[in-house]
């Protein structure tokens, strides 16, 4: 229950985490000419480079592959950076935490919100490509993808809170997670199509991040929606929320001692 009270309280204090996130981004791109548009530009270069090479290696249609990459990379970057940054977020906020009483969850909200803003910069490339390349897109499919994105945000919050808790106590966790994320990148259908997995299809089900990518991109790109992915994700979500709530309630008062 403590977790849910604090969660609601953190939601109400949206001004706090939104200003922290806003200045995180402003600071990062201070004095640069393009500012936050560097995010968009960097993503464009990345998918162009990968798109040109891999479309030839896999013998794929370049434009279609670019479209596929642009949405996958935007989602993947959002998930990976939220999870990895949240590991360090409490440690970095030491000066703030030692000065007054804080709701610790605010810092995970900050990380997710910051990466959501970055995601919105990245997804512009996909939107522009999709206007040209996607022939038929129904409103229902678009809505499904947007709703899944909202679910992804809700999913990331407890996961990020969990990571911030564990890494504040056990500092090796960040190193482990950055390796795990790298591995998951190659196991997820980001560069390749999921059909290539064939008998390794089970790899999708043990990897909630891959399921999210598919659940968001398939309705728009290939007019498909897999209900069983959603069921799996709901199970993962319930598990992570309960586990985080349990750990948070148990160790909330110890967090400052770990900093």
């Amino acid at each position: 229950m403590i977790f849910f009270f604090d969660f609601v309280d953190a939601t109400r204090k949206w001004r706090v985490w939104s200003s922290l996130a806003k200045f995180d981004i402003l600071k990062r791109y201070k004095r640069s000419f393009l500012g936050p548009w560097w995010i968009t530009l960097a993503m464009l270069f990345l998918i162009l480079a990968i798109g040109i090479l891999y479309s030839q290696l896999f013998k794929l249609d370049f434009a279609k592959y670019l479209l596929y990459l642009s949405i996958n990379f935007a989602i993947w970057t959002f998930m990976r950076d939220s999870i990895l940054e949240s590991c360090q977020v409490l440690i970095d906020a030491k000066a703030l935490l030692f000065n007054e009483k804080w709701n610790f969850l605010i810092f995970s909200f900050r990380v997710v919100y910051k990466n959501l803003i970055i995601f919105l910069h990245n997804i512009i490339i996909f939107i522009l490509l999709a206007i040209v390349l996607v022939d038929e897109l129904t409103l229902v499919n678009l809505l499904i993808s947007v709703c899944t994105l909202v679910f992804l945000i809700l999913f990331l919050l407890p996961v990020c809170i969990l990571c911030s808790l564990i890494n504040t106590r056990f500092r090796d966790f960040y190193m482990i997670m950055s390796n795990v994320m790298q591995l998951l990148f190659f196991l997820s259908p980001i560069l390749f199509n999921k059909q290539l997995l064939e008998s390794y299809n089970w790899l999708l089900y043990i990897n909630p991040l891959a399921l999210f990518i598919l659940l968001i991109n398939e309705p728009i790109l290939i007019n498909q929606f897999h209900f069983n992915y959603l069921i799996y994700l709901l199970c993962y979500f319930t598990f992570f929320t309960c586990f985080t709530a349990f750990l948070f309630a148990k160790y909330k008062n110890k967090i400052t001692y770990w900093l």
């Binding site: 939104s18 200003s19 600071k27 201070k30 703030l96 007054e100």
Partner: protein, 236 residues
């Protein structure tokens, strides 16, 4: 009615870095600094507060004294709500504000105005309230002409003025201060002294750590002296 009640409160800091308690460093540290290094279930702890029981009521103005490492800062953090005790109970009633670290969240890369906006956000202010906050702080700190310059290009006196102006804006019911009364040059010192006096007069409970006898006598009516985590109440 604002109050703070501590009942048998102890704080034990775990020591993560050094699993072997018997190193020469620890033995020496134990002799030289006030805090007790303490072992329980083969884990190392520093005992910063030791079984403190205290009732602080509305109208109390406590001066906090004691040598380095005697538990003053831990006590202030505990009262401010930054941390919970490892043993015992603490009950805080009232809106608490603390001036423990004046430059909290002051970001060198951001301009003065951006820093004020960020701090306003941390106070959960609305847009309108932030506007008022900006005007007040800039006027008080006399930094109107420097509002759009990044703080790392401020002189140290200027950034202290800004930090001081921001930290003393909200009037709390319980005020916790760690050794900061005035900042800046002679003219500004008067101004900042007046501002903090106003703030202290508006609060119901004041806890002020200070090594200066003059300051303690001017602002406080009771004194808590810390020694190796234990307290002793003195009259002023």
């Amino acid at each position: 009615m604002n109050k703070i009640e501590l009942n048998g409160v102890s704080v034990l800091y775990p020591v993560f870095e050094n699993p072997k308690a018997r190193s020469l460093k620890n033995v020496l540290a134990k002799r030289i600094i006030g805090g007790n290094i303490y072992e329980e279930n083969s884990k190392n702890y520093i005992r910063a507060l030791d079984d403190v029981t205290l009732d602080i009521k509305s109208g109390d103005r406590y001066a906090i004294t004691g040598p380095n490492g005697s538990g003053k800062s831990t006590f202030l953090r505990l009262v401010a709500g930054c941390m919970e005790p490892t043993h015992g109970l603490i009950n805080r009633v009232g809106k608490i504000s603390s001036l423990l670290n004046l430059s909290m969240g002051l970001d060198g890369d951001l301009t003065g105005l951006e820093n004020i906006e960020l701090r306003g956000g941390l106070y959960n202010f609305t847009k309108k309230e932030i506007k008022k906050f900006e005007e007040d702080v800039l006027e008080f700190s006399e930094l109107e002409h420097f509002a759009h310059i990044p703080v790392y290009q401020y002189s140290s006196g200027m950034s202290l003025r800004l930090a001081f102006g921001m930290s003393t804006y909200v009037a709390p019911e319980i005020l916790v201060i760690d050794e900061i009364i005035s900042v800046g040059d002679l003219d500004f010192e008067k101004k900042s002294k007046k501002r903090i006096e106003d703030l202290m007069n508006r609060t119901n409970i004041l806890l002020l750590a200070s090594h200066s006898k003059q300051i303690r006598e001017d602002y406080c009516n009771k004194q808590i002296n810390f020694n190796k985590g234990k307290i002793e109440i003195l009259k002023i």
